[in-house]
């Protein structure tokens, strides 16, 4: 593992222009992934996590535009239109495998196409490699399945095929955007195991984008919590679950049903995730934050470094502003 991060996203700004307003879907997101590491980006719908994922691949469509920040891949800024040079280095797996597969071509055709583009493999060599890839992702009877069409595969098998396709370009970084959300729990468990295995074997780095705290807990080494376009907390996964430092992280963890006694009401977060339409002038979580105080409505919190190589963007941790210092 070198010192330089494999991917470094810095102050990323993605703005969607609509007739009436500018929506800052991603508003200054910063995080890093090192080689072979699994990093989570967790948040609710509208948090900007998927837009962040798409930005990394250069897949932000109109009316969205990357308007600021850098996405450094091995030090090279992709946002200066360098995506084409790194097409094969970063691959993405989306939530719904059926959207990623073309229904009129066989699984084999589609993987072979990826192999042709990224590895310059053709003919028998490509077919053999496609079969190997399907075997790598745990599809039984691969020599036969390679000739099947997407509709002949179950959801779990289709997602494996999509992962095989992603691996066809031999990437260093796999971006997984809710890869298991559409799947049943036992199939989800299989896919999580598979990703962990692939990672160990191929030293892949994985960016896991999900709303599921359970998946984050199982699958990642490091996690970034994103809220209304901003990363509000970053920490090693275990530390985050043991001591969430940001009130939003705490609230999110508490609202998971498994963590509350069944006889008690579930703790909730009232209100809705705001849509950021301008630069932050306050803490975007303040209207919903049980711990908000006066300054929260007039100051946009910066990340404050905390013990254990972690940080949180919350004024409670800013010794100059909060009376209590670090409350946990």
């Amino acid at each position: 593992m070198s010192d330089e991060p494999l991917l470094s996203v810095r102050d990323l700004e993605v703005v969607f222009h609509t007739e009436r307003e500018r929506i800052h879907a991603v508003d200054g997101v910063t995080f890093e992934i090192r080689e072979g590491q699994t990093v989570g980006l967790v948040g609710e719908s509208g948090s900007g996590k998927s837009v962040t994922a798409r930005s990394i691949l250069g897949l932000v469509d109109e009316p969205g535009r990357i308007e600021g920040g850098e996405i450094l891949y091995r030090g090279e800024d992709l946002t200066e239109d360098n995506w084409a040079d790194h097409r094969g280095d970063i691959a993405i797996v989306f939530q719904d495998p059926t959207n990623s597969l073309n229904p009129v071509y066989t699984i084999g055709n589609q993987i072979e196409e990826a192999l042709r583009i990224h590895q310059d493999l053709r003919g028998r060599a490509a077919t053999d490699r496609a079969i190997e890839l399907l075997e790598d992702v745990g599809i039984p009877d691969a020599p036969r399945r390679v000739d099947e069409y997407p509709h002949q595969l179950s959801g779990g098998m289709a997602q494996r095929a999509v992962i095989a396709m992603a691996l066809a370009c031999d990437p260093d970084l796999l971006v997984c955007d809710e890869p298991t959300t559409a799947l049943d729990v036992t199939i989800q468990a299989q896919i999580l195991d598979l990703l962990a295995e692939l990672q160990a074997e191929q030293d892949l780095a994985i960016l896991f984008i999900t709303h599921d705290m359970g998946v984050i807990e199982d699958a990642t080494d490091w996690v970034n919590v994103i809220y209304a376009g901003e990363v509000v907390e970053r920490a090693p996964t275990e530390a985050l679950f043991d001591h969430p430092a940001h009130p939003y992280t705490r609230a999110l963890l508490e609202s998971i049903p498994g963590r509350t006694d069944p006889d008690e009401r579930l703790p909730t977060i009232e209100g809705e995730v705001p849509t950021p339409t301008g630069p932050a002038t306050d803490c975007r979580f303040a209207p919903r934050c049980p711990e908000a105080f006066e300054d929260c409505r007039s100051v946009a919190p910066e990340h404050v470094s905390l013990d254990g190589d972690r940080s949180a963007a919350c004024l409670l941790h800013d010794p100059a502003r909060s009376d209590g210092g670090e409350r946990q």
Binding site: E44, P143, V185, Q188, G214, P257, P262, R265, L266, E272
Partner: protein
């Protein structure tokens, strides 16, 4: 929430099969529900969990009459719901409600919220007010009828003409007059309601919106103006419009963010307490079910394989499938303390379920025959091999393959042999076992995958492959359909742990 014992609904040996209508007899039917027994008791929440294709939604739909049963009984008040005629079915529809998973799809975007919530009221000509009179009296009037015995009474009329209106109704006693005529043998009561049905319906809709945490101002808006959580509230208001006793909630929070989920779950619990509702809560998320359900029913391939009080089942699951599901809950939400059990493959095709235990193809605790002493991983490889043959036998052959088969060519024999040797690489089979496998491979290479699968089953199968387990009584109000409940076998959790230890 303590449930009383009377079942609101009693499901007995229920089967719901789907046929392909397109080409008659082209394929065997999908056995979505394949012999289910389940009592749902008054005031309780039964969580119904299982994976997609397990039949849980079909079971819910069959109970409330949205899907036709193929066989068996759904009993309510001593009557069989599956045999209802049109009018009885309408009555039953009033007493049950359903909330769907996707609030986006289940709400008509061209109707206002007010119209959506009033839809069931209109469809059932609500309200026709039931009237009970002190003593024996004839009731007359438009929009009213005498209450049947045991029926909910909307208006209670005294012989002095005093009227009381049931609290739930958006109607004040002032708007109702009752004229009592005692000139005949039995008194006659003429009831006049000075509020139109349309007004009562509108006010009922206001009440419902209020109940689910929305307000009057939402009445005139359209579904697309609402967030997912709010839309689900609208769906709940609609399901409750006719004051059902029993509500089927089909994945009501699966499409929602966790923080929104929590609010909807709290709302459902409050409504249950206030209105004395009975719930069937269908979900694939086991943590939510643990939170909300008094009892849990675990479904696999059309069967309820385990049933019991939620806490007891989560603390000590009896069925290997339940153990697997619980262990698959990601993160610290899992009550299983051991290593996660990763099930192999996916559930079998419900058109063609296994002959024995439905879970036998994936079971981590499957009983092994005494004939061979093989490590568990070798048993699994052999199982997997059989699944490969079975899948091949069921797959639609491509045109080219069919032709090859017809003229007697080896069908992908080369590939098949490779697959088999890959599967069985690093397994040491005793010579007798090896020759059985070889013979099966030859059969499959010759195109007879069925016979190949059968041969393996004969040689390496166990009771699990032959017997469909009946529900065993596990005490404490629990049942499970697994042969390991029999005294001669080791327990399920114990077996799984022992096997996990043997494997790398």
């Amino acid at each position: 929430m303590t449930a009383r014992e009377d079942p609101v609904v009693s499901v007995q040996s229920l089967k719901t099969y789907y046929h392909d209508d397109s080409i008659v007899g082209a394929k065997p039917p999908v056995r979505a529900v394949d012999g289910v027994d389940l009592d749902i008791r008054e005031g309780e929440t039964v969580g119904l969990v299982g994976e997609s294709g397990s039949g849980k939604t079909t079971l819910g739909r069959t109970i409330i009459g949205l899907a036709d049963a193929t066989d068996g009984v759904v009993e309510a008040d001593g009557q069989d719901v599956t045999e209802f005629d049109a009018e009885q079915a309408r009555d039953w529809q009033r007493r049950v409600g359903m909330v769907f998973q996707d609030p986006e799809e289940s709400l008509n975007d061209r109707m206002t919220i007010g119209e959506i919530v009033q839809e069931p009221l209109k469809a059932h000509d609500w309200p026709v007010l039931t009237v009970a009179v002190e003593g024996d009296a004839t009731v007359r009037g438009s929009g009213v009828r005498p209450a049947e015995p045991d029926e909910t009474v909307d208006l209670t009329v005294g012989l002095d003409g005093d009227v009381t209106v049931r609290d739930e109704l958006p109607l004040s006693a002032d708007a109702v007059t009752a004229a009592v005529d005692r000139s005949g043998d039995a008194p006659t009561v003429d009831v006049t309601v000075e509020k139109s049905r349309a007004e009562i319906r509108r006010d009922r809709a206001f009440d419902l919106l209020d109940r689910v945490g929305l307000s009057e101002q939402h009445f005139y808006r359209y579904p697309h103006q609402f967030s997912g959580g709010q839309r689900q509230r609208i769906g709940i208001a609609r399901a409750l419009a006719l004051e059902p006793e029993f509500v089927v909630l089909d994945e009501p929070v699966s499409a929602l963010d966790v923080s929104v989920q929590a609010r909807i779950i709290n709302l459902l619990e409050d409504l249950q307490d206030e209105m004395g509702l009975t719930y069937l809560f269908i979900a694939h998320d086991l943590s939510i079910v643990r939170h909300i359900a008094d009892r849990v029913a675990v479904m696999y391939l059309g069967n309820v394989v385990e049933l019991g009080p939620t806490e007891s089942v989560y603390a000590d699951p009896h069925h290997p499938y339940t153990v697997s599901l619980l262990s698959a809950i990601p993160g610290s939400g899992s009550p299983w303390t051991g290593e996660r059990i990763t099930l192999r493959g996916s559930p079998p095709n419900p058109r063609d379920p296994p002959a024995g235990c439905p879970f036998a193809t994936r079971c981590p605790a499957k009983i092994r025959p005494d004939d061979y002493d093989l490590p568990e991983r070798t048993w699994r490889a052999l199982d997997e091999l059989r699944v490969v043959f079975r899948t091949r036998a069921r797959a639609e052959a491509s045109a080219a393959e069919t032709i090859k088969r017809l003229i007697g060519l080896d069908v992908a024999g080369q590939d098949l042999r490779e697959t088999v040797s890959d599967l069985l690489a690093d397994h040491d089979l005793p010579p007798a076992a090896q020759s059985t496998v070889d013979a099966a491979v030859e059969l499959a290479a010759g195109g007879d995958d069925d016979a190949a699968a059968e041969q393996l089953r004969e040689a390496f199968g166990s009771r699990c492959d032959r017997e469909h387990p009946e529900p065993y009584d596990g005490g404490e109000d629990r049942t499970s359909q697994c042969l390991r409940q029999e005294a001669e076998y080791d327990g399920v959790a114990e077996t799984i742990r022992a096997r996990q230890e043997d494997e790398p």
